[in-house]
Amino acid sequence: MRMSYRQASIIIFYMLVAFKVLSLPSLVYQTCKNDGYLAVLIMMVVDAILLWGSLKVLKQAKDKNIYDYVKQYTGSVIAKIFVIALTLIPLIHLGIKTKGLEWFLVKNLYTQFEWFQFAIPVSLVTCYMIYKGIRNIGRVSEFFVWIIVIGVTIIIIKGFGAVDWSFFLPVLSKGIKPIFKAIYDYLAWFGIGGELLLFAGCIDFKNEKKSRVFFYSALAIILVQLVLWSFYGAYGIMASTHNFAISDISQISNANIALDELSWLIVSVWAVAQILHIAIYGYLFCRGLQLIFNIKNDTVATLILFLILILWIFWGEHTIALEKLFLHKSIVWIMIVAQYIIPIIIFAISFIKKKDKKQSDAQSAKSQNIIQSTQNEGDKASNADKSSNLGGGKQIKPKSKQPNKSRGKYAKV
């Protein structure tokens, strides 16, 4: 079952906001200081532009999954390499997200928290959501989107009371270099264009309204920027010591105290939204897994994800290596290749092929016209000969679509 265009727009909103309002603001501050919001803004705009390219490819792919779509132009080996690279992105994002959610719960909501108390319920819930399919994830996303938007807005308003706007001055005092360094260092926290391609064949473009994606992308950028301004402006040079921007804004002391209880409720809603994020990235990972290994059984893919999540959380709990892993240069280069270079190659291929197709369509239409005109002339001639026989040129029929080979529910949709 495919998700509607509206649901896809909302999932894009979730993916754009996903990593930007929790640990990223404090990480970026360490490199960019008061210009941190600019690094996030630049990357979100780049991601939004790539997102349009990905949507064009998804629309062009129609019922095909990304493997089949790329294979028809490049052959199976390159297509497989591309899919492997694209599948690594949701895996990295799953790692950041699960670790972030665990820290968020352990540091903010509970004093004592065993790893399995977090791992088992979160893995069960997200895997069940994934098993039920993308349309169900889309529906849950639809239900929560405005609750989250309103909640985050309330937190932002609360934080604005304590914002020192002069903190953002002078702009770019250390130049543009720290901004690009921050983008490079924390690239794993950005990107949407690559992994979105794994949704090929999952979106129903029947009720396509481009303004919808534009609206939700703009909303995501604005919301993230407001969170960053609120967070940096309120905490100033101490921003680097606050690891959970969205919940720490709600704890600013000199804001309206009456909002305190409410803001904790909102922070809890944000925790629910993070489970949705894990479900979205988990779905993309399962889909990639099925395409790579030709797994036809959906349960198998979901169980593999379940085990990965449990092991991931266990490993993260017992070693600090996981936190350093996402900052490792190899991860950064995987992200550059998978999230930015491969999608651009796919856009280029699809653009060239589309152009070729247009040309061939025009040519075939032209040849059809010639046949028809020849036939008309023949008809005229036969009419002139008072002949009663009806004739016609050979009608060119479009090639019938080949049915997809089954690659399980995620691959097949």
């Binding site: 004093t111 001055l169 002078p170 040079i237 101490m238």
Partner: protein
């Protein structure tokens, strides 16, 4: 295989998941309640003793029933804060939890030595909230903690609220752990803390409190119960809790001076937020007053500043408009003129007198700040943010960048209005 598939069919999976959840959750049912294993600390006072030991006093909240609780003071000494807190943990028989601690007080000796080492420890590992108010106190550690309990239990006064009042109306800036860190890690390393005196001598401006037990207990295992008032009069002791608005100034985490409330009043005129204050004019002679002493209340304030450079030196021009109300008139003779309401307005002589007084005092206070290099009026911040290039050039021209304040020129334009 068929049997296996039947047992683990999707429909039966929910039963297996329920069993798993029950198995995990049941193991927590036989664990003791957190209140039995954790002691809730609501306030903490730390100081350094003469023999360089760390003395820690904690106000521990002990639940009695579901709706009532009792505060008790526990004190211990140790080689460091960890050691002293471990002693308290042994006294109480519980883990000490600082998550609810909203008052963090530090004695003079520790502040002069290095206030940051205590703050760093408590915020890094003990989860003391960064919104906890910071206090610098003089006097005995245990007496201070006992005062907190006495004020709360017998007078319904919350010390954190008293300090928040200071923040609102005296120092005009946050005085919690977060703001201390902001100042410490800022370019100038300047931070402030409100000062509270615990005096055994009579002080008319202080709150008189009767504390129980001997002060300065030597043994780490000793503790005192300060939650109840009265008791054995032979052991009770009178102390005065004095909050006169004095503010301690820290550089690089070490206390180096104090600013009096009379000085802070003028510093606040140069701050955008604070609008509260009173001014006194002596020997006022005008058509309305004869040799009068006037107490004038500041009801509103508008302040703007302009930054410029003269001969490469930073100049800051303050344009301040004050709205004044006559609060109190002390005249030797009859004040018949006050029967006429038009005389309730401040007249030109009052305006001129007050303008001169404010300018004179501002010059004195600001030159003191310049001499001691205390940038309480955020001159560095203003120039760095709004005149960055010229200011950086100016800083580079100095031998010692920390002395930047000495060459800054201040100009004041005061305009006073009657707010009646």
């Amino acid at each position: 295989m068929q049997k296996f598939k039947k047992i683990f069919s999707p429909r039966k999976m929910i039963i297996w998941v329920s069993i798993l959840v029950l198995v995990i959750s049941f193991q927590y049912t036989n664990q003791p309640a957190q209140s039995q294993t954790q002691a809730i600390v609501t306030a903490l006072a730390v100081d350094q003793t003469e023999d360089n030991l760390i003395e820690v006093s904690t106000v521990v909240l002990t639940p009695l029933t579901a709706s009532s609780s009792k505060r008790k003071v526990y004190t211990a000494k140790g080689l460091d804060i960890t050691n002293a807190i471990n002693h308290i943990s042994l006294q109480v028989g519980k883990q000490i939890g600082f998550g609810q601690c909203d008052i963090m007080a530090m004695g003079d000796k520790l502040c002069e030595e290095n206030a940051l080492k205590a703050l760093d420890y408590l915020t890094r590992t003990k989860r003391v909230g960064r919104n906890a108010v910071l206090i610098n106190f003089s006097g005995d550690v245990e007496n201070f903690a006992s005062c907190i309990v006495q004020l709360n239990d017998n007078m319904s006064l919350n010390v954190a609220e008293i300090i928040n009042f200071n923040r609102e109306y005296i120092v005009a800036t946050e005085t919690n752990i977060e703001s201390f860190f902001k100042g410490y890690y800022g370019d100038l390393g300047l931070s402030i803390m409100p000062k509270i005196k615990i005096s055994e001598n009579e002080d008319v401006n202080g709150i008189k409190l009767n504390l129980e037990g001997d002060s300065g207990e030597e043994s780490a295992s000793n503790s005192s119960d300060s939650a109840t008032s009265g008791g054995d009069s032979s052991k009770s002791k009178e102390v005065y809790f004095v909050n006169d608005g004095t503010t301690s100034i820290f550089r690089e985490g070490k206390k180096f001076t104090e600013i009096k409330p009379s000085e802070i009043k003028y510093i606040n005129l140069l701050q955008p937020d604070n609008v509260l204050g009173t001014f006194v004019l002596e020997n006022v002679n005008s058509n309305t007053f004869k040799d009068a002493r006037l107490v004038l209340d500041l009801t509103n304030k508008e302040m703007e500043y302009k930054l410029s450079f003269k001969d490469g030196k930073p100049t800051i021009k303050y344009d301040i408009e004050l709205y004044i109300l006559i609060d109190e008139i002390i005249e030797s003779g009859k004040t018949e003129n006050l029967l006429h309401t038009e005389n309730w307005f401040v007249d030109d002589s009052v305006i001129n007198g007050l303008t001169n007084k404010i300018v004179e005092n501002l010059e004195v206070v600001v030159s003191k700040l310049q001499d001691e290099n205390i940038d309480m009026i955020e001159v560095y911040d203003k120039f760095y943010k709004f005149k960055n290039k010229k200011f950086t050039k100016y800083l580079n021209s100095l031998e010692n960048k920390e002395d930047f304040l000495k060459d800054v020129e201040f100009e004041y334009k005061i305009k006073i209005h009657s707010s009646y």
